[in-house]
């Protein structure tokens, strides 16, 4: 197969003979279409309705899940600008694909999955904006307790962090986390357990880690 396609590229492409249908049948089809509804009206209506609907859906989901997406992206990237860019890219994906959701749970999971993939891509390609505005804010507020926990979570490997975030922040169960991250449930369970063990070691304080999952 590969050799064949290679030959096609290197050699002169062979023309393909396409027989057009007789002109009369094409004309008939066009007349039927025009008679069914004035074409200009059809185009104007569908364009306006589609556009308005698109805008309304985008605004609705941005309002509904924007902060969830932003927080999830931040949990990966630890930088406000990066997280905001991921949120924007996620909304662009939605705008472009216009996926149809079964319900709100499905919609939220879709947005979080896209945000996770975009964040991981960003980590791989351009991962190194080091300003952690959230850490700075916590320090400014003199919330040592929160700073301590945040620094501990930040120190975890990405694979633990993503599960920890979805579990503690979004309240997802391990099967739900597995579906969002495209991982096996056992993997998520193990990442959660290891992540929490690591946090316990670092924090050395009484936190309810909700070990039963």
């Amino acid at each position: 197969m590969q050799a064949e396609s290679k030959r096609a590229v290197e050699g002169f492409p062979r023309p393909v003979l396409i027989r057009c249908p007789p002109p009369a049948s094409l004309l008939l089809k066009a007349v039927r279409l025009l008679l069914s509804r004035p074409a200009a009206l059809l185009l104007a209506d569908s364009g306006r309705t589609g556009q308005a609907e698109k805008e309304a859906r985008t605004e609705q989901y941005l309002t509904e899940f924007g902060s969830n997406i932003l927080r999830f992206a931040y949990s990966y990237l630890h930088n406000q600008s990066d997280a905001e860019e991921v949120l924007q890219e996620t909304m662009i994906r939605f705008w472009t694909c216009q996926p149809v959701f079964e319900n709100e749970i499905h919609a939220k999971a879709w947005f979080l999955r896209v945000a996770a993939n975009l964040s991981k891509n960003r980590l791989r390609y351009n991962r190194f904006r080091t300003t952690d505005e959230l850490g700075e804010t916590l320090a400014e507020e003199e919330r040592e307790d929160l700073s301590f926990v945040w620094e501990a979570v930040k120190s975890l490997p990405v694979k633990y962090r993503e599960s920890i975030h979805l579990f503690y922040q979004e309240g997802y169960s391990t099967p739900q986390i597995a579906r969002i991250l495209g991982q096996k449930e056992a993997t998520v369970r193990s990442h959660l357990q290891r992540g929490r063990m690591r946090l316990k070691e670092i924090l050395k304080e009484e936190y309810d880690f909700e070990d039963d999952i």
Binding site: P13, P15, A30, A40, R48, L70, Q88, I92, L134, Y168
Partner: protein, 207 residues
């Protein structure tokens, strides 16, 4: 833990300003309109009518159409394709230049090889709690993708090559250097001292 984590995350939210910015970025993506009709739709309709007219006068009965070329135009696709490979050899074959794996200061559990187009090769190592990223790119520009401003910047010479180290009070995280026709970067998740970087780079084929 859940309450504490949520209290931390409550500091982040989509502000009205950010919401408007995002929606503003999306709105110009709409196609421009002509008398209430979308221009692409008008163009499509016009093209259809033109084709029908041509068909009606019987100009075309049959025609030869060449299949679309399998070679994509670089102009139409400005984003470099990202391809993962299984080894440094495959990576080198894909980018068209040699990629020698440098030594890293921890045991890697997983290694990923990625080609970004034909100009940038990347190897990433992931350990239990450490990671490293090596990049080699055509040209002399810093390929690290790291635009942070570092507190500490110094230059060292390893294997006769001048290497710039960047980091903070805890040590250096990033090394950037140039060879003939190529530039390189190596970034570690955990900072290392100048001496540790020196011995790390001296064991590598860095030119």
């Amino acid at each position: 833990m859940r309450t504490t984590y949520r209290e931390i995350m409550d500091h982040l939210s989509v502000t009205e300003d950010l919401r408007l910015r995002i929606l503003g970025e999306l709105r110009p993506k709409r196609a421009p309109s002509l008398f209430g009709l979308s221009i692409p739709r008008v163009v499509s309709a016009a093209a259809c009518l033109l084709l029908l007219t041509a068909a009606a006068v019987g100009v075309m009965h049959t025609r030869l159409i060449a299949p679309p070329s399998t070679v994509s135009s670089a102009v139409g696709n400005p984003v470099s394709p990202t391809v993962n490979t299984a080894s440094a050899e495959e990576l080198a074959a894909l980018v068209g230049f040699a990629v020698t794996e440098p030594e890293i200061p921890f045991a890697a559990e997983k290694t990923e090889y990625t080609a970004f187009g034909k100009d940038l090769a990347q190897i990433e190592w992931f350990g239990e709690d450490e990671s490293a990223c090596f990049r080699k790119a055509r040209g002399s520009l810093d390929p690290s993708g790291d635009f942070s401003t570092y507190e500490s910047v110094t230059e060292i010479t390893a294997n006769g090559v001048c290497v710039m180290l960047k980091g903070d009070s805890s040590g250096y995280l990033l090394a950037v250097w140039e060879g003939s026709d190529f530039s390189y970067s190596l970034r570690l998740s955990h900072a290392r001292s100048e001496q540790e970087w020196l011995s790390l780079l001296e064991n590598c084929d860095i030119s």
